[in-house]
């Protein structure tokens, strides 16, 4: 799993987890190079004829943070300034690769969060799976 994928775990974190991650990251000196700002991403999709079209816009928040000269980028859906900042800081740190112990701690934190989210999605998916249906044809059909 690369660093970019690991920071995706930030998207599904709750407020408490975001606060914990920010506390962890705050032990290293970081510079907010672009404070969080909200904006729109136009979502482009492909239809069944492989025709691209714009489905509509999605509200997002983005921020950039620098750690040891490495620029980190954070963007998440919704009006979520702290999330965007945390993701940018994690991105910058993991890109810098040092301090090593902090990188390991952040990776472990992200990995745990990702596992919890995966388990939650799996539980919901299991519920969905119970609605699988195979209708019987009526006699004569």
């Amino acid at each position: 799993m690369d660093n970019i994928d690991m920071t995706a775990a930030v998207i599904g974190m709750n407020d408490r987890e975001i606060n914990e991650l920010i506390e962890l990251l705050a032990t290293e000196e970081m510079t907010i190079t672009r404070p969080p700002r909200s904006g729109l991403i136009m979502m482009t999709v492909k239809d069944s004829f492989d025709t691209d079209f714009h489905l509509g816009e999605v509200l997002v928040t983005e921020a950039t943070v620098s750690v040891g000269g490495n620029e980190g980028f954070g963007m998440v859906t919704g009006e979520e300034p702290r999330k965007a900042l945390a993701r940018a800081a994690a991105d910058a740190l993991l890109r810098a690769g040092r301090p090593e112990r902090l990188c390991e701690a952040v990776q472990a934190f992200l990995s745990d969060a990702q596992n919890r989210q995966t388990a939650q999605v799996a539980a919901e998916a299991a519920l969905t799976a119970t609605t699988r249906v195979s209708f019987d044809l009526m006699p004569g059909a």
Binding site: I4, M43, T44, S48, G78, A123, R132
Partner: protein, 366 residues
């Protein structure tokens, strides 16, 4: 047209706004939390996002609360809000084959690869009031959830993605190939005004933010017989697709979240344009879980591609100019604004016409 400028009334307007807010809060119930709207009235929130053209569940829930449940007004607020935000970019095009499915059915085939998954739906049930909901409380909800998860079979699993049903028809040469659609420049209706005939991708974008009721009306007219499209639902899907942009530093695909969508693919009457007859396909996709809208969009996509339009639902310009809820409600609402000069003019003409009629009656009597 004789519009007249009016001024004043500021205090009355402000008081009317406060009175509207008062209507919402004068009852005995406690304040309605936006989070409650988002989580418990999620289909209304999905509809507002789809018709507003902005995926923002928290803001859509807020708009729905502020509008006291009026989806037109709530969508309008969301569309107004988007005008205050900077466009940060376009996502990478995503195919719904990557959808994390929560519901997927086909009315074309009984058995489809991956199976039919009913998901969260009230389809196939009687629409009877559930009076137990009058006693809704935390303890009942907890007990309900516990029962739901306790019954879960150990082997209940669902694939990460599902193959497309229309691919089966395409493999057998029964459905028009993907490449059969002409390649057109990608249009953005939020940046340029529509001209007709509009590129199909612009029509799809317009329909994706169309108003559910308006689209249903037009699609229904075709289904009932004022048109030629009697659709079979090849596949209906509800689920989540990833929103991905290029990472500004590495250029690699960078996922920023998931977006809930509904997709409908309708198989319609066959045509034999290139010799061999094949089914044709209509396509619908919209934000949130809104199956009526996705199916209506798919029907209208197919209708508006008719070679010789013979009814309103087959006329692209007619359809695209009348399905935007915000434009339609805006026009309808504008009749509430002062039209004093128009009406005075009408009164004046009516009085003159009556005078002439009386004179003619007098002449006839004489």
């Amino acid at each position: 047209m004789g519009y007249v400028a009016v001024k004043g009334g500021t205090e009355a307007i402000e008081r009317a706004c406060r009175l509207f807010a008062h209507e919402r809060m004068k009852g005995e119930s406690g304040p309605l939390e936006v989070k409650q709207v988002k989580e418990q009235l999620y289909l209304a929130v999905d509809r507002v996002m789809g018709e507003g053209g902005l995926y923002a569940p928290d803001l859509a829930a807020l708009a729905f609360k502020q509008a006291a449940g009026d989806t037109f007004e709530a969508s309008f607020m969301l569309r107004a809000y988007r005008a205050t935000q900077a466009r940060l970019g376009y996502s990478l095009p995503v195919s719904t084959e990557r959808m994390r499915v929560v519901r997927r059915i086909s009315s074309a085939f009984k058995d489809i690869p991956g199976g039919q998954i009913l998901g969260p739906t009230s389809d196939y049930t009687l629409r009877l009031l559930d009076f137990d909901l009058l006693e809704d409380d935390d303890a009942r909800r907890k007990a309900f959830r516990e029962r739901l998860f306790a019954d879960l079979p150990a082997d209940a699993e669902i694939p990460g993605t599902f193959p497309k049903v229309v691919a089966i028809l395409r493999r057998e040469g029964l459905l028009a190939e993907a490449a059969s659609m002409p390649t057109e420049e990608l249009f953005d209706i939020t940046r340029r005004s529509l001209t007709f005939p509009a590129p199909r991708n612009a029509a799809l974008q317009t329909m994706a933010r169309g108003e559910t009721g308006g689209m249903l009306l037009l699609a229904y007219s075709s289904m009932r017989g004022y048109g030629n499209i009697h659709p079979i639902l090849g596949e209906l899907r509800v689920g989540y697709i990833p929103l991905t942009v290029p990472h500004p530093v590495t250029g690699e695909p960078y996922t920023i979240g998931e977006v809930k969508v509904t997709e409908a693919e309708v198989v319609a009457r066959f045509e034999g344009k290139n010799g061999m007859p094949q089914f044709s396909l209509g396509y619908g996709l919209c934000f949130g879980q809104n199956e009526i809208k996705a199916i209506s969009m798919a029907v209208l996509d197919r209708c508006t591609r008719s070679d010789q339009p013979s009814c309103p639902a087959e006329d692209q310009e007619y359809v695209l100019y009348h399905i935007d809820g915000i434009e339609a409600m805006g026009f309808c609402n504008h009749w509430k604004l002062p039209h004093y000069v128009d009406f005075l003019s009408d009164l004046d003409r009516l009085r003159k016409a009556q005078k002439i009629a009386r004179q003619e009656e007098c002449h006839a009597d004489a």
